[in-house]
């Protein structure tokens, strides 16, 4: 407990770093996944290619990806961009498949009805498809959020400080409370982001909180 009390400032600042390093990839992954997932859903020929590609990407272990991205992108291995791009790729890998499933889960009758009411393709996408895909998308984002928050900690091995700093520093100095604080705070950041996603889902998609709860229970 002494260790925690003596390091409150550091705990807060690393938690905020951790939050930033998590939120950017989650948002990037989400934005990338919408067009790709929609495409994979809409055009059957692209489905296999897109989903296989993201599946392979997701298989690559994070430590290996942190080594392989810098020479491809021409950035320093120790830069924050390295970790942000790698985690965005993982987030996109999960979300593309999820978005394709989300768009596929919409009742085609609703889409035909929207077209009959005069919606053009883009208008229909934003006014009908996206909201109806919302519950499944939120469920996918919850999986992405939890996995991203955990992966951020590995970035400390390539010199990008997050709550993972408490793992390596505490391990080397043999301070059990320090490592434990890192684990607990990472867990809390993940739970906090998860709670925010549930809340946002309920506000933006007020009709669907039951649907969100039920998809999540099937997925996990």
């Amino acid at each position: 407990m002494d260790w925690v009390l003596n390091n409150v400032a550091l705990i807060i600042s690393l938690s905020l770093d951790h939050l930033r390093l998590s939120v950017i990839p989650i948002v990037m992954g989400f934005l990338v996944s919408l067009p790709l997932g929609w495409y994979a859903h809409r055009y059957a020929w692209s489905r296999g290619i897109v989903l296989t590609t993201v599946g392979l990407l997701y298989t690559v272990p994070s430590l290996a990806l942190f080594m392989l991205l810098p020479p491809v992108l021409g950035i320093s291995m120790l830069s924050q961009t390295n970790v942000l791009v790698a985690l965005s790729l993982y987030a996109a890998a999960i979300m593309v498949r999820n978005a394709a499933d989300a768009f596929a889960s919409i009742d085609p009758a609703a889409l035909r009805a929207a077209t009959a009411l005069g919606y053009a393709e883009w208008g229909r996408f934003f006014a009908v498809e996206l909201p109806l895909a919302g519950p499944v998308l939120v469920a996918g984002l919850r999986v992405v959020a939890v996995s991203t928050v955990s992966l951020v900690t590995v970035g400390v091995l390539v010199g990008v400080p997050s709550l993972g700093y408490f793992f390596t520093d505490g391990f080397q100095r043999r301070i059990v409370p320090e490592v434990a604080t890192g684990v607990i705070m990472t867990f809390l950041v993940a739970m906090a982001l998860d709670a925010v996603l549930v809340l946002v889902g309920r506000i933006l998609l007020p009709w669907s909180h039951l649907a969100i709860a039920s998809t999540v229970s099937q997925r996990s």
Binding site: L56, V60, L63, L68, V146, V149, S150, R174, V176, V216
Partner: protein
Amino acid sequence: MNLFLEAWWWLLSPEQYVGQGGIPQRIGEHLYYTFVAVGIAAAIAIPVGYFIGHTGRGGVWLVGIAGAARALPSFGLMLLLVLLLGVSGRDSAALAALVILGIPPLLAGAYAGVQQIPRSTIDAAKAQGMTPWQVLVSVEIPLSLPLVLGGLRGAVLQVVATATLVAYVGLGGLGYDIIQGIPLRRFDQTIGTALVIVVVALVLDAVLAGASRLATPRGVRVGRLGDVRARS
């Protein structure tokens, strides 16, 4: 791109393949941690998942616990367990962290595998006069196998990735050459090893994908069970 060339030369040089710390030995260690951890996780998670899926009791708990376990950072958990068990116990500490990581996808696979079997199929098996054991062995296990193997695939994917981190606590595995190479700025070694890790992970995943396709009973192979890894 030059760095990839150097990594390629590093991979081609014969000294990487002999003796202590060579690539074959590291692959062996890596697979050892992966298989032992997934094996223990499967021995725990599959029976529990079957039990919950079969009886329908405790499903809510299962979802909550599996979700919470996923939010635990396994790297930190591993270091914490090593500190608590001491250096002499670091082998079991690292394995324990990998087991905890492997349990949620396996549990979800076994649970979902049994739960998705139509009630009428099980009732039909009972009406044929099957004992509960026979129902389990010749109906529930075969019909749930594709999803169980999907869970296994998810567990292996997570564990093989995280097994790169056991090198940080002084154990071997393919992560060793990366974690040791970063501070020395030996990028030919780190990139070369990363390529080996990617190949190992992709091969394991492909083998399990094939197994789960083969395991689908012919009568069920209508394409409704896709890739279930995204669930994990």
